[in-house]
Symmetry: C2
Subunit: 230 residues, 2 copies
DNA sequence: AGTATATGATAGTAAAGCTATTAATTTTGT
DNA sequence: ACAAAATTAATAGCTTTACTATCATATACT
């Protein structure tokens, strides 16, 4: 696709801006940092977040456990970093694709498509594998906020990118139907619900009707345009 | 409420049937087992699932760590037990309240009310505090299935009660609109989405429109009856 | 060449997540 | 009432996780 190509080239020159306090040292600032990010994505994907440790990662990247700690305080912060990057990347795609659109119905339709479609291709331009990262978000994102420290971490701004994404969606919903009383709830339902539907497709297929053809995108587009009265 | 009273009395004589393999020894079969369940609910609620340990629980109930291991293999299994109990309890309420209803629209409306309303009163008839257990489900349920072991544990039947609940809801949706193509997805969205909206109300109020008056129940009832065409 | 700075190697600590063994207590069957 | 059986408690110990601290080495910068 032409658009994808343009997108890929553009993404090369754009750095996703992540809250400084999530990392000790910016992993984008060195080769080791990038290797940490790259390989952690592979490992978390393979063994799951609970089994993943900095020690194992150190062995995998032939580096030292203590060196990893110089980039991230702990694996929870690394997860916050990875998921923030993912949401920032999605946000960028969303803004890029919908910015120039005039028709607000088409705009919202496109927006839902972007945030609910599965990631199928790796851009191959950064050290980050977006396909695997998408899988990590599906399987682990909830764990990044379902903690006793949410409120403190939220105050620190660790979830700003995600919140901005929900707000953008919510604004687009409002643009279509000012009288709909739940634009934010609907926006958050789309984002969270989409991850959940993908999880169900993989592990509890009887609890979802989504599959290759009728995917989460169609489900949510249908849902949203049924509730909204333009 | 009359209904609640009847319900409470009825619940006394009903035991929620949980898959044998979730526990080593049935906690309902002894005083120690009941104390384990009762106090673990308080502790998980207070300190969160990650900080909760069997050692701490042992100290709290003035018993021994190793004694707790005779009831549950590990804290993950205990979480599976607690959440299964919760879903079983909800299922019971759902069936009890909707069984005799003739009008399928009213039935689904009631069903949504039951599964999405916050638990506000403790029945005081069992050692289980349903209000706190509801909070645990909101904050920790996802962690019980977002693991590398889901498929194996699903095969063991550890999630049957939850799946049955989704199916019941899904059937009620189908009863209203046979042509709606996503009854299971909608049912799972209601259950999961409702927990999520409660979480947002507590920690990310800007991402939801739900609050005391416009609660998740009204949001989901509105959503569901907008998509379905009877 | 000299000095920051980043990385690596090694060691060590506290707590988590168990298992095993033995002792004490409670329950139960006759 | 008493012995046998089952449960629970106490203690110890083991491996792994999640770090922290220290010192050595490499590399880069001026």
């Amino acid at each position: 696709m032409f658009q994808n190509n343009v997108m890929e080239r553009l993404m090369q020159s754009v750095k996703i801006n992540i809250n400084d306090n999530i990392y000790v040292k910016d992993p984008e600032s060195s080769a080791l940092g990038k290797r940490i990010v790259k390989e952690s994505i592979l490992m978390i994907n393979e063994m799951g977040f609970e089994c993943f440790t900095f020690k194992k990662l150190g062995i995998k990247i032939a580096s030292n456990e203590s060196s990893i700690y110089r980039y991230f305080e702990n694996k929870h912060k690394l997860l916050l970093y990875l998921t923030s990057w993912y949401w920032g990347w999605l946000e960028y795609q969303l803004v890029f694709a919908t910015n120039s659109m005039g028709n607000s119905t088409e705009k919202l339709k496109k927006a839902i498509e972007i945030v609910t479609k599965g990631t199928e291709e790796d851009s191959a331009f950064s050290h980050i594998n977006e396909v695997l990262l998408n899988k990590i978000v599906i399987n682990e994102y909830s764990k990044s906020y379902l903690t006793k420290e949410v409120d403190a971490e939220n105050k620190e701004g660790y979830f700003v990118i995600y919140k901005r994404l929900v707000t953008r969606l919510s604004d687009m919903i409002r643009a279509i139907d000012v009288d709909y009383p739940y634009p934010s709830s609907l926006a958050s339902t789309i984002l969270e619900g989409s991850l959940h539907q993908y999880f169900l497709m993989d592990h509890f297929p009887t609890l979802t009707d989504c599959h290759q053809i009728n995917d989460p995108t169609v489900y949510f587009q249908n849902l949203v345009f049924s509730v909204l009265k333009p």
